[in-house]
Amino acid sequence: MAGAVKSVVNFLGVILLTYLGLLAVTFFIGRVMPIDPVLAIVGDRAPEHVVQRVREELGLDKPLYTQFGIYLKKVAQGDFGTSVLTSNPVMTDIKRTFPATIELATLGIIIGAGIGIPLGVWAAVRRGGMVDQIVRVMGLIGYSVPIFWLGLMGLVLFYAKLDWVAGPGRIDVAYEYSVTLESGFLLLDTARQGQWDAFRNVLSHLILPASLLGYFSLAYISRMTRSFMLNELAQEYVIAARAKGLSETRIIWRHALRNAMVPLVTVVALSYAGLLEGSVLTETVFAWPGLGLYITNSLQNADMNAVLGGTIVVGSIFIGLNLLSDLLYKMLDPRTRTR
């Protein structure tokens, strides 16, 4: 019993330390950056006395560790500060921008894993075949082509020329004010309000940027799946299963892939986390008001409250997804379960 409590305390301690370290590093980088945060608030035209006054109001004339201490105290009380750029509390801003990124990233990873895993299996099974070559080339493209270029090309082709998908932004202007934002997840909100026209419009806006993100995770996931599968298919149990008379399908999907899933889960989880932190370039090209754009814009204006708030969210995602993949590991691989 004491052992269990000890491990829980240990575990929480590690998490707390991680957050603290994350915040400290970000905070000090922010304050040491050669950008004057007062500039973003008062602008270039402000008379000198306004600049000084705002500097004092923000507490920027105090020593660094005092400022950090004040910030930590506020966070402990649940106050993440106000963004100087939007004048809203940081958490309100994040509640507004994060769902947009979640929707995009989730659809992206579904496409990426949904296509990537079967593709990787196919490439491993028919090693050296056509699909294997395709997977290799796709992987190469995924690593070398800049995502914003591919995004723009996608827009030119599928939006401008072929008219298959809707353009940048999350929803058409015509529907903008007929949908009430409840959760911020437009797919859910439109569905819940029964607005199926708007729902299809949102999906149409989502599909291209999600496919773009999906493509880049696909390139990575398919390569990893392929190599894990090759590893499994070379094992002795596969030969034994074939000797027993099991069909090829059953061997591939129920046995080999099941075992390959164990490391694959971590790969997919981390890809998902990478998408969730907001792909700034995709969000810029598609005018997607998500978390990546929010954090980047705040960083360029030295809006540290917003950057730190965003950092906490991103850090939480990574910690959460790491935990999740640990749990899934335990579920999928009985050998890792403690007795």
């Binding site: 809203n88 149409s204 090209v285 005018a287």
Partner: protein, 549 residues
Amino acid sequence: MTYTPEVPTPIFPKEYSVKTMFTRSAAALAVAAAFALPATSLLAATPKDTLVVTWAIDDIITMDPAESFEISAGEVMGNTYDRLLRYDVNDPSKLVPDIAKSWTVSPDDKTYTFEIKPGLKFASGNPLTAEDVAYSLQRAVILDKTPAFILTQFGFTKENVKDKIRVVDGKSVVLLIDKPYAPTFVLNCLTANVASIVDKKLVQANEKNGDWGYGWLKTNYAGSGPMKLRDWRANEIIALERNDNYWGTQSKLKRVIYRHVKEAATQRLMLEKGDADIARNLTPQDLDALAKNKDIKTTSTPKGTVWYFSLNQKHPILSKPEVREAFKWLVDYDAIGATMIKNIGVVHQNFLPVGLLGASTDKPYKLDVNKAKALLAKAGYPNGFKITIDMRTSQPVQGMTEAFQQTLKRAGIEMEILPGDGKQTLTKYRARQHDIYIGQWGADYWDPHTNADTFARNPSNADDAKSKPLAWRNAWDIPEMTKKADAAALERDATKRKAMYLELQTDHRQNSPFVMIGQMIETAAIRNDVKGFKIGPTSDATYMFKVSK
């Protein structure tokens, strides 16, 4: 219990052909696609009563006119808030009444009386009276945010503003200023956004802890203009709606929506597709390419913004007069005008942009490497020297800097470019730690004093000076010129005033550490069915309520 093998449903087993696998997967994908790609052209791209504008609006941080100073916000203010008077967009030297019925100026030029039009209402339904006018102006002075200097330069302070700006007879507002400034100067300042009239009742109802409604008005609306602010989601969208309580001509459009689209290429695609009616941030290349598109036309207006290189006078070499002049002969003005700023600017060599009273159009400088070399030799640097420039990585600034680097090399000057992001380079500039800086400056109000104030005045060159204009940022100590600029602001006679500014610009051209390059032209691309859209010379004069489709 025998083991019965299940009937296999093979997917990718070795015995099936590639063709079958391919057709199965293609079929699956087609089904998915059919569901995911719904008809996109169900509705017209943009409704007839709604105008969609793509613009980079991530500079906006507030909707309070007493605090607002950014360019995009300026345009929103110009459409949603009224003020005492405005200038005529077609002839900026003419002033037209807005909320004011008429005004008089006392013979000593220190008392301004405005009679307010009767029967006006705010968008909220509250009546608009002289009380609201006095309240709004006092509020701007007392809150003392960035743009307040436009009013406080006339002697208003937190302590005296309630006496100096007050209501008389219940329907007029009187302003008492401290010095007999040129009336056109004072009146032009009152056309600025900071002098917008806000709804006193509404603002006071939302006041917290005596903040004059500052916390609330930052993200809300309390105006009386032709359009009202319906929604502002930072870095995402601004929605304006027709104000049905407006006292003047109603806006033809019901709604104007500004969508934040940072990437110029994306803006262009949306415009070509018809998902946007106006695109504001296109590059010269985009504009050239769109010239061939029959559905799209362009409109341009010269702005009160100028580009310049400036030389830090704290630097021992750059402070030599011959070196300063040499730099002015080493800019290839013609090439820059023909390529880098084509469609978005014109070559201009004075600190007053064309359109302001007294602006000079003299262009004495051109690229002359030999002359520059001779000047450098005279200064003691026949073989040139090494220097750096802080440049923000955006166009056309980057192009102009690179061109400058090339021409400077021909005279032996090696200029190293230090790229940085906008705020980063600005921070360094304001701390006077640069060698050379490339910048731009736009007029705050439509009077020559706005640029003279910053280019030709430096009340104190000390590090802790109370006022830090551009001349200060470059450590240019000019007590005599400051006096001349001050005198020009006080000159009542327009002809005399014009002559004073012309003289200032000549002096400035010859002696200043500023190498003026060009004046900005703002160009927008619009779809053919959009009528009545004209960009104003200042950001608050682009009137969306005059536009129709």
